[in-house]
């Protein structure tokens, strides 16, 4: 179960716009639809992990924000946090990297760069793998406590990007010059049509309201 790369881009843009203009109902419904679609394709263990992640994104911030701003304001902020987290998580999980590569190469972006993009999307996986090694390496240079945590993302992110670029480079060296074509054309599915229709209806509702 996947969604078209262009549709994923549309989803992200629309959710951000809806949040900006305070159209929360529409902004919330879209990630809920996508999360439901994603859950339908996931095994139970991954659903459990996803649920834990969303609980971490919402519950601790809600407690802290309630103490600072009060319960109503906290709901508003946490809702936005949840919308952003669930939108990006669902979209990134639902995109087929190979289809994204194809779409990007069709836009005229060089194959090497096109291959790098889906690989960078695997950033989280790579970072979780190397976070332990990086922590030890930074402790070895005397960094401790807050300083250690502030500096931790630097080598992690740089390495994720460098590794992706190197992997892309090696793929292109292995005669994958036409990877854009070999990657396989992006397929438009019923789910894509429903999502686009939803965004169009939301825009229409917004326009009618503003008249």
């Amino acid at each position: 179960m996947n969604i078209h790369p262009v549709v994923s881009f549309t989803v992200i843009v629309w959710v951000m716009v809806a949040l900006y203009i305070n159209f929360l109902v529409s902004a919330l419904a879209l990630p809920i639809i996508l999360t439901a679609y994603l859950i339908a394709s996931l095994p139970l263990e991954q659903i459990r992990r996803l649920a834990i992640m969303y609980l971490w994104v919402t519950i601790p911030p809600y407690i802290v924000l309630t103490l600072i701003y009060g319960p109503i304001e906290a709901v508003d902020i946490v809702l936005r946090l949840f919308i952003i987290a669930s939108t990006f998580t669902s979209v990134l999980r639902l995109i087929k990297p190979i289809e994204l590569t194809y779409t990007v190469t069709r836009l005229g972006i060089p194959t090497l760069a096109a291959l790098t993009i889906p690989m960078v999307m695997k950033l989280a996986d790579y970072m979780s793998y190397s976070v332990g090694e990086t922590l030890v390496a930074l402790k070895g240079r005397g960094l401790r406590g807050r300083k250690l945590l502030i500096n931790l993302p630097v080598p992690l992110i740089v390495h994720a990007v460098i590794s992706s670029a190197q992997l892309a480079e090696s793929l292109t060296q292995k005669q994958f010059k036409n990877v854009g074509v070999l990657a396989g054309k992006s397929v438009v599915r019923i789910s894509d049509i429903i999502i686009v229709a939803y965004v169009l209806v939301s825009i229409a509702v917004l326009l009618i309201q503003s008249l």
Partner: protein
Amino acid sequence: MVVPGKVGSSWQNPYYTFVKSTVVEEFLEYFSDIEDVEEFLDAYNIKNLSSKHTFKLSMGQARLISILIAISWNPEALVVDEPTNGLGLREKKMVEDLLRSVKVPVVIASHDLDFVLKIADYVYVMNEGRVVIGGPTVEVFYGNWISSLGFPEPYAVIVGRKLGRRLRYIG
């Protein structure tokens, strides 16, 4: 006695150590100004690297900088994992000289037996996570332990055996 929190280290991937964009910036955390950093780098003949981007350093250069960073905060001991991994001959020599110049105890984990024979005072051989033999380097290398574990002996040891002498260094 070494305090556990005061051990500097340089790991197999030296790039994990870097958090700043240039070599000079990496050291500014430990030195008061740029002149001091450049003087420090000059002492190790690598002043030319001062303005280089850390993530664009070659493996050998990155290894040297990583070890220097690890000793810059005055640790009580130094741990270096596979110091010769991916290094050219010249870079290997530079790392060797650098490790010799360090004033604190240095623990090296390495599969490069020639390098170990050259640089180590004591050797501990590990097999499947356990120390199987340990002692002064020459004793361990000439005690047939290395070959009995299936590792190829360094040429200095092979030649030394033929000459009936306990040679340590090649060249």
